[in-house]
Amino acid sequence: MTTTDLKLYQIGTFAAGNRLLDPDERSVQADPGRANAITSGHRACQGCGEALGARFVLDAAIRAAEGNIVTANATGCLEVFSTPYPESAWQLAWVHSLFGNVAAVASGIAAALKAQGREHIRVVAQAGDGGTVDIGLGCLSGMFERNDDVLFVCYDNQGYMNTGVQRSGATPPAARTATTKPVGVEPGNVFGQGKDLPRIAMAHEIPYVATATVADLRDLERKVEKAMSVHGARYLHVLVPCPLGWASASKDTIRLARLATQSGLFPVFEAEHGVVTATTPIRQRVPVEDYLTLQGRFAHLFGEPGRPDVVARIQAGADRNIVRYGLAAENEVVPHG
């Protein structure tokens, strides 16, 4: 007789909720009483991954902190689209810092709360990739080194989107941006490591570092919850596709985040005190083309004549990640076409 895993719940925990699971086994987002830290009426583009990611993260953080939370936000899309004067989409204590100093502002808030004996109030700092890996890196490194009691969340949309899609230290190789034109022998952004902030954070040996995407809500929420259960400096790096900057269809935001992980381009893992403790294996491996061809910022690599050599270099990067983080699924069949 065929043996089967009898714990099958149709969609399991892949979707936000599941009528076959107990309510407490469902996601925060499936909870009708979720906080909606950032609510409707914000002016993010259609299909903005950053608006989505911020709500996912903060709703989970609010639940974990039982509402005792304050957040500092660097300049960038998230700040701009959420607070066009005189309105605000935030439904939690929120303060806007400068573009480059959000880690310092958050550290200061944490220090002030400590001085007041109100350490039950938790501090979250949020910034785009520019505000994190480029202009904000000095303040952030200091926050890490001092092990300040702050959860720093980077919403990585791989560019300076708010100011018109300029390159950042997190922009991937070959991508077209306003400052990396798709011309010449090496069109788009240069090849190189850029600034791999999760690994830079790990080098500080802070208590907790994790990566996540908007495509795996349950994983993201679990990581926020875990981060909130720890004190000291914590870093969460969330991939948030940007339809405007990536020149992708607004409906593809989550799909792109998923393909980024399933191609190996964006490794999903956790680390404690500088050591990788868990990785999310690839479930349905795809070639990088599946991810790249949905995005106008890579359009110059395809068509006639196209740049298969460049695509191959991007694939090599994905393959390296898969080896480095052990992302290959068991019995995997690689559908390279």
């Binding site: 892949f14 936000a16 009528r19 996601s27 987002q29 609510t39 799909r255 349905q284």
Partner: protein, 546 residues
């Protein structure tokens, strides 16, 4: 609008962005839809397959709800779970992901559970006072009787044989359909108040109607007569036809087939005859068929089961002559059109008997004298309402042209009952609104758990070669639940809350009840993420009028 009083140093009110109705940016709106799942679309009995699987997925009390939903359309779930050729599974979207959902095995599980726990069929409506005669107690007639009696009509079923069931009893062998199962499901229908008259052949329908004043009649007499083919045969040759052989066995006879039996034909009847011959002790049962295996009308699973039991096959062959202990077989060749052509190459094979399984015909003599009924090519023709050219006379099942199966007959029976009801009320039938099919590419299959199919175990081979015990066993509770939960709920919301979660604009609101959501058009920007991330294709984008 009065400015809210904000505390010291707070410059912007929390959530004040809601005054900005960003839904105005939209050019398309997200809209919930219900699409027809391919399984139900393919079910000849018209079962709402995805809906009853959805109930079954809950287990426990869900099983009874699932069963109740099946018997809304089909009163024979336990029979279905054994003999239905399950076109639902053939068209199941999950087949494109790993393997189709084992719909038929779940249906059998539910059917068996209902028998075991004694669930009864839904109550009947108040009497209408209208009298309907159903001729024939096969699946078509019994299904029609069930639906007619539920609609409150006074139903008489007249059956020539001594027992009800038609080919479910006299054709399909016990090793595929135990009679206890058939009897239980037939009895449940009779318990609703259907009058069944056994051993009464209707010979003259016009006379019967005139004498007994029925308001409507359903002709559901099937096709009982084995088709003969002219084959030169010696006087001592032993040639029988399959339906007679199978009928005889059911009546308790033991036909003399000999040790070596040749069965001529390629349908399910041929396979059943050969498998039966093996069980009766034939050392050699050979199926001779003029086309190839691929073109055989019999179902592959049954051919496989027969092979396992030692039945041999000879494809592309015809029987030219039959002698006392041998047959002459001629090799055929397919021409360009795929039609078999004789080659003249022959061979003599040993055979003690030949069983013809070349299809069945209907005995339409009861319709003699009713001019308006079109009997061209030996079948009863009807309009899509199942009514013949003679008002008030309807026909269903094998006696009508088209596919012949228990499931088709049951579907016909239901449609005929509905049409008879409408006709008796003097109304015009309401047209069915067409529903868009939930195609595989409308699903986002990422969200479904990886789940290989649970297969039904089969009886040990030795017992299959000598007894009429049931070959295919049922799923146990755990496996049935597992199998039901493999269903992807194609085209109908499965309450996963994903849309509520993935909207960047919080424009999807949960209305409280599981699976009831609404799009807040004040804020839906029309990005389409909810549509793309809905696992089951239950949301679509609709252009706004601009």
């Amino acid at each position: 609008m009065a400015e809210p009083q904000l505390p010291f140093a707070i410059t912007l009110g929390p959530g004040s962005s809601r005054s900005d109705l960003t839904g105005s940016w939209r050019t398309e709106r997200a809209t919930y839809v219900t699409r027809q799942a391919p399984c139900g679309n393919a079910c000849p009995a018209g079962e709402a397959v995805r809906d009853w699987l959805y109930d079954a997925e809950e287990g426990d009390a869900g099983y009874e709800r699932a069963w109740r939903r099946i018997v809304e359309t089909n009163p024979f779930p336990a029979v279905m779970g054994r003999v239905c050729y399950h076109p639902c599974e053939t068209s199941c979207n999950r087949g494109q992901l790993d393997e189709s959902v084992g719909i038929n095995s779940v249906e059998r599980f539910l059917g068996d559970r209902a028998i075991e726990l004694g669930w009864s069929l839904p109550a009947v409506a108040a009497p209408t006072g209208r009298r309907v005669l159903v001729v024939g107690a096969g699946p078509a007639g019994l299904s029609a009787a069930y639906h007619l009696v539920r609609l409150g009509h006074d139903v008489t079923v007249r059956e020539a044989e001594s027992r009800p069931g038609g080919m479910m009893r006299w054709g399909i062998p016990r090793y595929r359909l135990p009679r206890s199962v058939l009897d239980a499901e037939v009895q449940r229908i009779l318990d609703l108040g259907v009058r069944l008259e056994l051993g009464v052949r209707v010979d003259d329908l016009a006379g019967t109607m005139a004498a007994e004043h029925f308001d409507a009649v359903l002709v559901a007499i099937g096709a009982q007569v084995g088709r003969r083919a002219y084959i030169p045969a010696g006087s001592a040759a032993h040639v029988l036809d399959a339906v007679t052989v199978l009928h005889g066995i059911e009546a308790g006879e033991r036909p003399l087939l000999g040790r070596r039996v040749a069965v001529y034909g390629g349908g399910n009847t041929a396979i059943d005859a050969a498998r039966t011959a093996r069980r009766l002790g034939a050392a050699d049962a050979l199926v001779v068929y003029r086309r190839t295996r691929e073109r055989m009308p019999a179902h592959e699973s049954e051919v496989q089961e027969a092979e396992e039991e030692g039945v041999r096959f000879r494809w592309l062959s015809t029987i030219g002559e039959v002698e006392e202990s041998s047959i002459v077989v001629e090799q055929m060749e397919l021409d360009e059109t795929g039609f078999p052509q004789p080659t003249g190459r022959t061979e003599v094979l040993a055979a003690d008997s030949v069983v013809l399984a070349l299809g069945q015909e209907s005995d339409l003599s009861l319709l003699t004298g009713i001019e308006q009924v079109d009997l061209a090519r030996g079948v009863v023709h009807t309009s899509p309402t199942m009514m013949t050219g003679q008002p008030g006379i309807f026909a269903a099942g094998d006696v009508t042209p088209g596919d012949r199966s228990v499931t088709v007959a049951i579907g016909h029976g239901r449609v005929a009952a509905e049409r008879i009801d409408v006709w008796l009320a003097g109304l015009a039938p309401a047209p069915e609104p067409p529903r868009e099919l939930a195609a595989f590419d409308m699903l986002n299959t990422w969200y479904y758990e990886d789940a290989p199919r649970a297969h039904r175990p089969r009886l040990e081979l030795v017992r299959r070669q000598s007894t009429f015990e049931e070959v295919v066993e049922g799923l146990d509770v755990d496996n049935a639940l597992y199998e039901a939960r493999r269903c992807m709920s194609c085209g109908t919301c499965l309450s996963c809350d994903n849309c509520v979660a993935v909207c960047p604009d919080n424009a999807v609101v949960s209305l409280g009840m599981p699976g009831s959501y609404a799009i807040d058009l004040d804020y839906c920007k029309g990005c389409g993420i909810c549509v793309a991330e809905c696992p089951c294709g239950a949301i679509e984008m609709v252009p706004e009028e601009i």
